[in-house]
Symmetry: C2
Subunit: 220 residues, 2 copies
């Protein structure tokens, strides 16, 4: 093998990890898997695709080594192979945010108007958690809360929020969070709370970013 053929082959292999994420559906899959392991069925539901297509994308991720599979009875659970995969997804998302044109508009199309949605940064939330003057709501599905959440947060899945509004103490200052910057649950929660007269804001991003920043987390 000539020298530049060997070099080309090496860089082709390095590009494999990018190829694995070079598809919107696979990006969605990784985004969901960053919350914890999932079965094919759950994943297909999350990304609005057929089983066969979802399975195919998962096979591709599996071949790239970025995800792992585990069989449990009749179900197969997929998960990210390591934290570096989450890093890759977040870095790639940030690069897109800074450089891909038209992204803001697409985000607005999906998320709606966020201009009236108060947001706070991780550092702000951390400081306020230390002061203890804030109620933090994890509005993801319960299983995701169990797999890991911001230390001190309470689990109220978005679907249950309406019926549990009474549990929010009067005059509370609420911060809601969910999966990440493009997750709609926290937006919904904040809007619902604001309509009820509760002071509420959303964390700028989600749990994976919190954990990646090595801020305090808890499980179970």
């Amino acid at each position: 093998m000539s020298d530049h053929a060997a070099k080309a082959a090496l860089y082709d292999a390095l590009a494999e990890s990018a190829k694995a994420l070079a598809n919107g559906r696979r990006a969605e899959l990784v985004d969901v898997l960053a919350q914890g392991e999932r079965s094919v069925e759950e994943l297909a539901e999350e990304i609005d695709q057929s089983f066969a297509n979802t399975s195919q994308h998962l096979q591709r991720l599996l071949r790239s080594g970025l995800v792992e599979a585990r069989r449990e009875g009749t179900r197969i659970y997929y998960s990210l192979s390591s934290p570096v995969v989450g890093d890759l997804w977040r870095t790639m998302r940030q690069a897109a945010q800074e450089h891909v044109s038209g992204l803001e508009q697409l985000a607005a199309d999906y998320l709606g108007d966020r201009s009236r949605l108060r947001t706070i940064t991780r550092d702000d939330l951390r400081a306020r958690l230390r002061d203890g003057d804030v109620v933090v709501l994890d509005v993801r599905p319960e299983a995701e809360y169990a797999a890991g959440h911001i230390r001190g947060a309470v689990s109220i899945p978005i679907a249950d929020l309406k019926s549990r509004l009474g549990h929010i103490p009067d005059g509370a200052d609420v911060v809601a969070y969910c999966r990440g910057p493009y997750c709609v649950y926290a937006d919904e929660a904040v809007r619902m709370l604001q309509r009820k007269g509760v002071t509420a804001a959303r964390l700028e991003d989600g749990f994976p970013e919190w954990a990646a920043a090595r801020l305090p987390v808890a499980r179970g």
Copy 2:
């Protein structure tokens, strides 16, 4: 537009930054551009491709927003749009290192046997620079040294090393570095020095990694 169509469009856009890097030749281009701006001609030479093909890949990177172009007379110089692009490339490379199977073999095919090549980490080099008991050699082309180098390093492009071996003081302890972990210049330099009886090691990676770690750098 229905909700899951909007979501799909958003994630498609987020995946654009990965698509831009999802090709070995474009990965090589970004790797070179991480050293500083280059003309199309220089880039085509570096990645062993035709002008037309190189230009095409650059257009694609341009469309993704990851690189910028600047005209100077008859030449057009490309450069990375921001540091986050370098972060993306390094993260993606690390993900490939950890998860893409067969990569080690491909690296060995290109780089040859590295088992006799002493390597030192960034932190080690930093400590030894503080103690002042080491000669650091930047063996990249001179223009790359000028665009930025490890503070305290001396520029001896690999092509000039042979004729300047006399300048290495007797009994010196040398560390050579170049573009990154898969750059061959430092390997060559260390081998050449070791044959001459000089104690030499290569930095595990290259200048962009040093700079990204916010270790001391200099210019000019």
